[in-house]
Symmetry: C2
Subunit: 169 residues, 2 copies
Amino acid sequence: MSTSLYQLTVPVFVKALTNLKAVLEKAKAHALDHKTEEAAFFNARLYPDMFPLSRQVQVATDLARAGAARLAGVEPPTFEDKEQTFDDLMARITRSIEYLKSLDPRQFDGAETREIVRPVGGQPHTFTGLNYLVQFATPNVYFHTTTAYDILRHNGVPLGKADFIGALD
Amino acid sequence: MSTSLYQLTVPVFVKALTNLKAVLEKAKAHALDHKTEEAAFFNARLYPDMFPLSRQVQVATDLARAGAARLAGVEPPTFEDKEQTFDDLMARITRSIEYLKSLDPRQFDGAETREIVRPVGGQPHTFTGLNYLVQFATPNVYFHTTTAYDILRHNGVPLGKADFIGALD
């Protein structure tokens, strides 16, 4: 039995981002219901030197695209950081999901042992593809999607872990 | 090229829990430095109906043990929830890591397609082993380890994402 790195990357990150988008939909509805400015959530942080919600979402999408692209052996697309509303953030997620889905499973052939060099703590670090995925890309994506959820939860948006986990096959 | 489910489970969860333990070590040191009762961190929550730090750690360790055990085709060990201090939580993490390391890679042969039935939203859900891992166990482990980190960060413990990501191979 074996599992391809495509299966561990593209559908997994698509699901994580789809769930994040649904979480933002609930936050948008909550803001409307409570006549609260979106900016109150958008700029919310758990601590002054942590990223605000908007940046957590930007980084989660960037890391998902970059993670998949590097394993596929292509340069990841960079997106401009100019989102101002929940709709903007959700559009960024949609574009990121479209990018992930555009990758071909065959591009991931041999990705387990592909050498991937990334700056880590200011120094270049050489990963195997598998280690890059399981030690860096995947935990980073979940770190930022969870923190986005935690920021919204901390600010009273009615969410449950099922929103984070999403639909199950 | 292929990747075994053992590689995607045991070393990955061992690393996530090892990093969580290091995060708790820093929180313990911070509490001592600031002459703050450990309980202030231990019982901290991001919202009144969210789990406190202690429970986030308990659940993260439970899900890591259970996730790996079910993929290995064995019943997961349950631990009593009686931790009262950072040292207790760190000991629970250590015992969970020892359990994970006791599993044999051969127990994961065929785990991708093993049928795993778990209650989800009050109903039994039948997963393939692969879906159980990537859609349920892994995101759940990272959800609770990240939220533990976020609770401590929100309460002023000096942590950075490198503490969450940990040492890289």
